[in-house]
């Protein structure tokens, strides 16, 4: 059995989760503070991938990344980057696709912290940055963990977007979910079963880990 699609999926999911931790947490913090109309619009955009058919997102990304269009051409001419049918393209698509899974739980957790704990830190002479790292972030650890795990699992299961912009290039864009589809198309049910079982097992362990980690929390980790 060719394990390459599995490794490719894990690599994509790890990279996406890592990048989203770096950019998602500050965005979530910013969104959790005073609500304004522009923020609501931005939040709606970030949340769209939750409800949008992946093929719609994939289609627009395909157009945007295409060498026939300004953005795709500019990237190709200036950085020699081609985002269609490439691993880099998959990473960018995954970042957009999984963004709400990182932002929503973290934003909700920031919003649930009492305002007074940040205020208490300010009165002790601590800057916003110090308050963020020593008081706010440590108190939403479990939500950050949940968000990271969900982002990882969601990216692992990505199919529609990958198919639209990545295609099916072995070792480059052929991730596990695509490999299953491919195997079924070729009537190779044994191979499809192997990939499906591995994805099922990994996903189950991930979800179980979230529940074990949050077993003392009052609410379900997915609320």
């Amino acid at each position: 059995m060719d394990l390459e699609p599995i490794w490719l999926s894990i690599k994509l999911a790890l990279l996406t989760t890592f990048i989203l931790l770096l950019i998602g947490i500050p965005i979530a913090y910013w969104l959790s503070r005073k609500q304004t109309l522009p923020k609501l619009v931005i939040e709606a955009f970030i949340t769209m991938p939750l409800v949008l058919p992946p093929s719609v997102l994939g289609f627009y990304l395909l157009l945007a990344f295409s060498a026939n269009n300004a953005l795709g051409r500019w990237l190709h001419e200036h950085f020699n980057v081609q985002l269609v049918f490439s691993f880099e393209g998959l990473v960018i698509a995954s970042l957009i696709y999984s963004l709400p899974f990182m932002i929503s739980p973290v934003k909700a957790a920031f919003g649930h912290l009492p305002k007074s704990i940040a205020e208490a830190s300010y009165t002790m002479g601590k800057s916003r940055m110090q308050t963020f790292f020593y008081v706010l972030l440590p108190n939403i650890r479990s939500s950050v963990f949940t968000a990271a795990v969900l982002t990882f699992a969601h990216t692992l299961g990505e199919f529609g977007v990958v198919l639209m912009i990545g295609g099916n290039i072995p070792g480059v864009t052929k991730v596990a979910s695509i490999a299953i589809y491919d195997a079924v198309e070729e009537m190779d049910y044994a191979a499809a079963n192997d990939y499906a079982l591995i994805l099922f097992a990994i996903t189950f362990i991930i979800v179980l880990a979230v529940f074990i980690f949050n077993r003392n929390a009052v609410k379900s980790p997915f609320e």
Partner: protein, 205 residues
């Protein structure tokens, strides 16, 4: 001396209330602020801490300007060197008793002194969730003191303590306040409460 002359609109479920305060508070003394609930006592403390900005007015503390709506100046909370005891304690769930105090000061001898005032030495490794209501309230007071603030703002600071502990603690605090020349504003619900600690009182309507 703290000179305050401000206007602040407070949004409540009853509509918008206009809070107008024009008074002075004596430095290096304990002033008790009382009044019915909804009178704006907590808001006044938060305005002094720089956590709430008034619409108009001026605040001057010992000659230096903390807030001036005409010049659009408001001194940052961090620079005001105030201590604040929040009504809901606002303890940090991720920190032990000791870490709360270490977050504000590196002076270990002073931390020991504070722990002794609050009778919290055996509890230094406990997190807030492992403390009783009274212990949490004592920690909130000690934390506000650990930065040696010039102005200490206390919002119902002894409400969860029993009479015996309250008397003992207020005695030690009084000594500490005079040693550190702290100005203290203390909000209380009950106009007779804490009269033994305070030098002055201010009634809000």
């Amino acid at each position: 001396m703290i000179e305050i002359n401000i206007n602040k609109q407070i949004k409540t479920y009853k509509g918008v209330l206009e809070l107008k305060i024009n008074t002075t508070f004596q430095s290096q003394s304990v002033t008790r602020i009382s009044g019915p609930s909804g009178a704006g006592k907590t808001t006044l403390l938060k305005i002094l801490a720089g956590l709430i900005t008034p619409e108009a007015g001026m605040i001057r503390v010992d000659g230096s300007v903390w807030f001036d709506s005409v010049k659009k100046y408001s001194k940052h909370t961090q620079e005001r060197k105030v201590g604040f005891v929040f009504q809901d304690y606002a303890l940090f769930p991720n920190m032990t008793v000791e870490q709360h105090l270490r977050y504000g000061t590196d002076d270990l001898a002073y931390i020991r002194e504070l722990l002794s005032i609050g009778e919290m030495e055996p509890l230094i490794k406990n997190y807030p969730r492992q403390l009783s209501g009274g212990q949490q309230q004592r920690l909130a007071i000690l934390r506000a003191l650990c930065t040696k603030p010039g102005l200490l703002l206390m919002d119902e600071p002894f409400s969860a303590l029993d009479q015996q502990l309250k008397t003992k603690m207020t005695g030690s605090l009084k000594t500490l306040f005079s040693a550190q020349e702290t100005t203290v504003l203390l909000v209380t619900h009950n106009e007779h409460e804490m009269s033994e600690v305070s030098d002055l009182s201010f009634e809000m309507e």
